[in-house]
Amino acid sequence: MKSDPFLQHVGIAASMVRDNIDTDQIIPSREMTTVSRNGLADGLFAGWRYTDPLTRTKDPDFVLNKPGNAGATVLISGANFGCGSSREHAVWALKEYGIRAIIAKSFGAIFHGNCIRNGILPIVLSADQIEQMASFESPLEVAIDLPNQTVSCNRIPGSALCFPIGAFAKRLLTEGLDPIELTLTHRGAIEAFFDQDRQDRPWVYSAA
């Protein structure tokens, strides 16, 4: 599926710097009520965002409910963000809420892949860089430039921190490509492999 290209983005960044924020927190399983990618934004961080998830009474202490973070489009977090369940619903919920990029010390592997397939940019920065950014009072505005792989924030004038990103992830995001169409350009090689493999490992094709 194609997604909107990600080139530059300027937005409010909300800081929730703790390690191991798992996908059960991002979207609790009880919030996944239909066989669909849509309708998940209300369930985002439901266990933390509401004092009562049933009535949707907002918890004023939760970071995304603070007035300075209204309309936040970037999250800043700790290590291993998005660990746990593979549920892509976590990314769909973030996207529907309006999150376009996540800055963290590291990411869960499956979540990272899910982000780039849905037009959300995962940015890895060092612990020091993240602690510094998170130390400012909200609202904190960040400017992200994906082609140049830099992120800067309004509280640190002249700063432009470089971040790493894989070549494929960058291309997928900046061009909004459909990975299926991209792979099918290799159709000849794929079919040749399977023809040969069927002869080499017939048990893989007939068992179970």
Binding site: M1, R18, D19, N20, D22, D24, Q25, P28, S29, R30, M32, T33, T34, V35, S36, R37, G47, P53, A79, N80, C83, G84, S85, S86, R87, E88, H89, V91, S106, G108, A109, I110, G113, N114, R117, N118, G166, A167, F168, R171, P179, I180, L182, T183, L184, H186, A189, I190, F193, F194, D197, R201, P202, W203, V204, Y205, S206, A207, A208
Partner: protein
């Protein structure tokens, strides 16, 4: 060039360089379940793609199915959850993929069913939109969890586009102490090196302790690799695995060819890993988690460290410096893709036999599959659980994660043979302590946190 087992698996499935440092890999098996697989099938259809090879795709119902004994065909364990079952069934039938439905005689948790039914075997690439797919690396297979979009990609193309991960070898040597299991190895590893300690590597578990584990123990160890931030886990298959998997290939000539091929699936002596961890098995004792990440685990006799996170302590209703021993519990759960296999049930039953859970504790056992349930019933193990005061459920993921509906009450303290003690994982406010089936059983009958060795012996208990 000396290759690791993972190198060999990657090479066997490598179709071509796809540019940008990524490769195209042939995927032999795609497993789907109703929670994340149904949405992949649905979206694929709406995007106008067809399934390249339906014979390599398996839909297995496990996540939302009711675990109530005698459940109905569409009965879900969460309100409104029926739609996941009915829609996934309809789409699977329409697509012509394999379907192991709720009422199928071999239904169960996807990672329990895949070995039983010969869907996983050494040397295959097997993926599923479920993070615990790494379990299946215990067969010497290339196995890991993916997202729904990646599952759609595999459905449409038969291949995965991926960058080869870095590799880590975790070597565990020596005999395990009595009362220790694969679960204790996993929790010890994660607590020692952190929940991000696997660095998104493909991990090979090696060493005498690992080779001495049963196939089911290896599945448990590999299962927990994702809680260690591993991309995948693998164990070199041995004769036990060859015999188990080989027996599931019907054609004799193919079986022989397969078994000859599988013997090369091991790491060459001089192969190099990016990271190495070595653990002496004698340092492992029965574990339990105290916090809200699997890394917040320790030996049963330890005290909560002073550095413990305040949010984890607040959620769990605990204090730094405290020991868990003797804490009253409200519930116990035995099951899941981590510890829902026959040997897990046998380990628990050995402790439960002749003992009884106090009325203050709700205890539930849900076998990982109908085959496990049948085998247990043939051994009379169901009666051991039932007479001890456990509920005996119908196979599925059950109380490993809360999906809405009925569960343990908020602030209740539960000892669980599952894989995640995340906030709210088993229900809003529910406090989960992860442990092995033996430890869960011991805590259940004691009504408090304890080790199996702490239980009064039966003669005294009865006398």
């Amino acid at each position: 060039m000396a290759l690791t087992l993972f190198d060999k698996l990657w090479k066997d499935h490598h179709i071509c360089d796809a540019g940008d440092g990524a490769d195209l890999l042939a995927i032999d098996r795609l497993l789907l379940h109703e929670r994340t697989g149904g949405v992949a099938l649905k979206n694929l259809k709406s995007e106008g793609h067809s399934i390249r090879d339906p014979s390599r795709v398996y839909a297995i119902m496990d996540h939302i199915v009711s675990f109530r004994s005698g459940r109905g065909r569409d009965e879900a364990r969460s309100p409104g959850g029926e739609v996941f079952i009915t829609e996934t069934r309809a789409m699977a039938l329409e697509a012509g993929i394999h379907l192991i439905d709720t009422d199928h005689s071999n239904q169960g948790i996807v990672h329990v069913v895949a070995p039983e039914q010969g869907i996983v075997m050494p040397g295959v690439s097997i993926l599923c939109p479920d993070s615990h797919t790494c379990s299946l690396g215990a067969f010497g297979a290339m196995a890991w969890g993916i997202g729904s979009s990646e599952a759609e990609h595999i459905l449409a193309t038969g291949v995965l586009r991926a960058k080869k991960p870095e590799q880590m070898r975790v070597t565990i040597d020596g005999p395990l102490a009595k009362g220790c299991s694969a679960k204790d190895i996993a929790l010890h590893l994660i607590s020692k090196f952190g929940a991000a300690g696997g660095k998104r590597c493909a991990i090979e578990f090696a060493g005498s302790t690992v080779q001495d584990l049963s196939i089911e123990g290896r599945l448990t160890l590999c299962n927990m690799a994702v809680e260690f931030a591993a991309q995948s886990a693998v164990i070199a298959p041995d004769d036990a695995v060859f015999d188990y998997a080989g027996a599931r290939i019907v054609d004799l000539a193919q079986r022989e060819a397969a078994m000859a091929n599988w013997r090369r699936l091991k790491t060459d002596d001089s192969a190099v890993f990016e990271y190495e961890i070595v653990i002496d098995a004698s340092e492992i004792s029965p574990q339990i988690s105290w916090g809200t990440s699997p890394e917040e685990s320790f030996a049963l006799n330890e005290k909560i460290p002073a550095s413990a996170s305040s949010s984890a302590l607040a959620y769990m209703g605990l204090e730094a410096g405290q020991s868990l021993s003797g804490l009253q519990i409200d519930g116990a759960f035995i099951g899941s893709c981590t510890n829902g296999r026959l040997s897990d049930l046998i380990a628990a039953a050995e402790i439960l036999r002749g003992r009884r859970v106090p009325e203050t504790v709700r205890a539930v056992c849900v076998p990982g599959s109908k085959a496990v349930r049948r085998d247990a019933e043939n051994l009379g193990i169901d009666q051991v659980f039932i007479q001890a005061g456990f509920e005996w459920g119908e196979p599925g993921c059950a109380m490993c994660f809360y999906a809405g509906g009925e569960t343990f009450p908020p602030k209740s303290r539960i000892v669980s043979s599952t894989n995640r003690n995340f906030e709210g994982r088993q229900g809003p406010g529910v406090r989960t302590h992860l442990a092995s089936p033996a430890v869960v059983a011991a805590c259940a009958v004691a009504g408090k946190i304890c080790a199996p060795i702490d239980l009064p012996n039966l003669v005294e208990a009865i006398g």
